[in-house]
């Protein structure tokens, strides 16, 4: 579905990605784990078109993605939930969701999708008129995911959905991620620092370190892998 081939991405003069390659099949949940600053977010930004790799290619259903502008990429069905959620603070919950559906014009289906979202996250329905900036961290994360879902993604890119959330909330959110994957058959690329959590959720995983993919395997295997444990859990 999506294949990233040897991309090198720079921030000014600093090279953040030094040849990252990934392959994602339809319907999978893939996770990309690694430490802070390892290049996880940069990978997602490169896929989304906000940063253009200086070399290397990205293909989506055999279409070259690395040449397209962000809005084209979204219109193809690749939607990102960026790190830190980035809710529009001055928009109400409803307006935030409407922004998610920005490129859509199928009104009748839209209505159903709002209902689906509110079914998924009932709390958002109660908060419909509240400003995004006043939501709690967990609610914001839910809103961010919902907002992305409103764009009807075929491939959903999730950047650190567990960041700064209480364990209970994290649990809920990861359940939803599974649900979205199974019910809507949305392919998911999940970037996480919380390796335990990510590997439990995903089908396959990639480990990134210093802008390079150093390991890739089935999620269960990585979870058992002593190296991974040592490197990213710190404690044996």
């Amino acid at each position: 579905m999506l294949s990233v081939k040897e991309i090198h991405t720079y921030y000014g003069n600093i090279q953040a990605l030094k040849g990252v390659s990934l392959d994602i099949e339809k319907g999978e949940i893939i996770t990309l784990i690694g430490a802070n600053g390892a290049g996880k977010s940069t990978t997602l930004m490169s896929i989304s078109g906000l940063m253009h790799p200086r070399s290397g290619k990205i293909f989506y259903q055999n279409m070259p993605l690395h040449l397209l502008s962000p809005e084209k990429i979204v219109s193809l069905g690749i939607v990102q939930v960026p790190e830190g959620r980035r809710i529009f603070p001055d928009f109400t919950v409803m307006e935030n969701l409407e922004m998610g559906a920005y490129l859509r014009s199928d009104k009748p289906q839209l209505k159903k999708d709002y209902d689906y979202i509110f079914e998924l996250f009932p709390i958002l329905k109660d908060r419909k008129r509240q400003l995004g900036g006043t939501l709690s961290g967990g609610e914001q994360q839910m809103l961010a995911i919902s907002r992305a879902l409103m764009a009807k993604p075929k491939l959903l890119l999730l950047d650190e959905p567990s960041l700064g959330l209480a364990p209970m909330v994290i649990k809920q959110i990861f359940q939803i991620i599974r649900k979205i994957n199974s019910e809507q058959s949305t392919t998911i690329l999940l970037v996480e620092q919380n390796a335990n959590l990510a590997l439990q959720t995903a089908d396959r995983g990639y480990v990134i370190e210093n802008g390079l993919i150093i390991m890739q395997d089935k999620a269960e295997k990585l979870l058992q892998n002593e190296e991974v444990k040592k490197a990213y859990l710190g404690i044996v």
């Binding site: 219109s75 990102q80 960026p82 529009f88 001055d90 928009f91 922004m99 920005y102 490129l103 992305a148």
Partner: protein, 301 residues
Amino acid sequence: MDLYFLELFFSGLTRGGIYTLIALGYTMVYGIIGLINFAHGEIYMIAAFIGLTFAGIFSILQFSLISILLIAVFFAMLFSAAYGYTIEKTAYKPLRQASRLAPLISAIGMSIFLREYVILAQTPDFLAFPMLFGDLELPEFMMDFIQPTETIIILVSFFLVGILLLFIKHTKTGKAMRAISQDREMAMLLGVNSDKIISFTFMVGSLLAAFGAILISAHIGQINYNIGFIIGIKAFTAAVLGGIGSIPGAALGGLTLGLIESFATGYISSDYEDVFAFGILVLILIFKPAGFLGKKEHKKV
């Protein structure tokens, strides 16, 4: 209430209305790309000239006043939007990645260029602008403190601010504009074509400036290439006063500035009208560093 006070109040309101229409252009552009568009006053001026050109043609063709007014407004809006669009594409868009000051200087250069362009293409002289409102009449008691054209200016500018607020609040493009001003990258990640929206913002700002230009030119009855300068500075001041980036703020700032100037003239002296306007701006910013409705910048560490 004191009639003199009322008179001054409405004259301040009229001025404020015009300031607001121009300030909206500054504030929207600033909100969306953080640029002080110094060429905005020049758009206002060009709109007045375009309006005069078309009003001239159709008055020679003996159209009725009201149709001339509508035609002049239409063409002024059309062309000023086109000018706004073109200016953004040539002078600002190539500088999107550059430091904050580069587009500012580019804007100053653009403003000089446009003034000289109008001098060369038309004339440096003052030109008579047709009094397109004709001889409207108001009820006797109102005529004591307000003039018909002033009523129109106040009403139209309030109306336009209202329309703009509704537009920004409820339409898809309006939402995209607000989204970009909050978080441009995130908006792009949701499929908003930010270049398009930015162009659009310039066009809307220019439209409003054009509207203001025709209103005030038809009220005052004369224009020249220099009319954009002072009004531009004042409108920018109004935008900052209200909190730059905020649309209701621009309206609030515009009205405040208009009223301050009017009362300063009426009760003190018009010699120091501008000193008061700027003095109050400085005072307000010292106590409220982001203007009336501006957002306080959070220190991000």
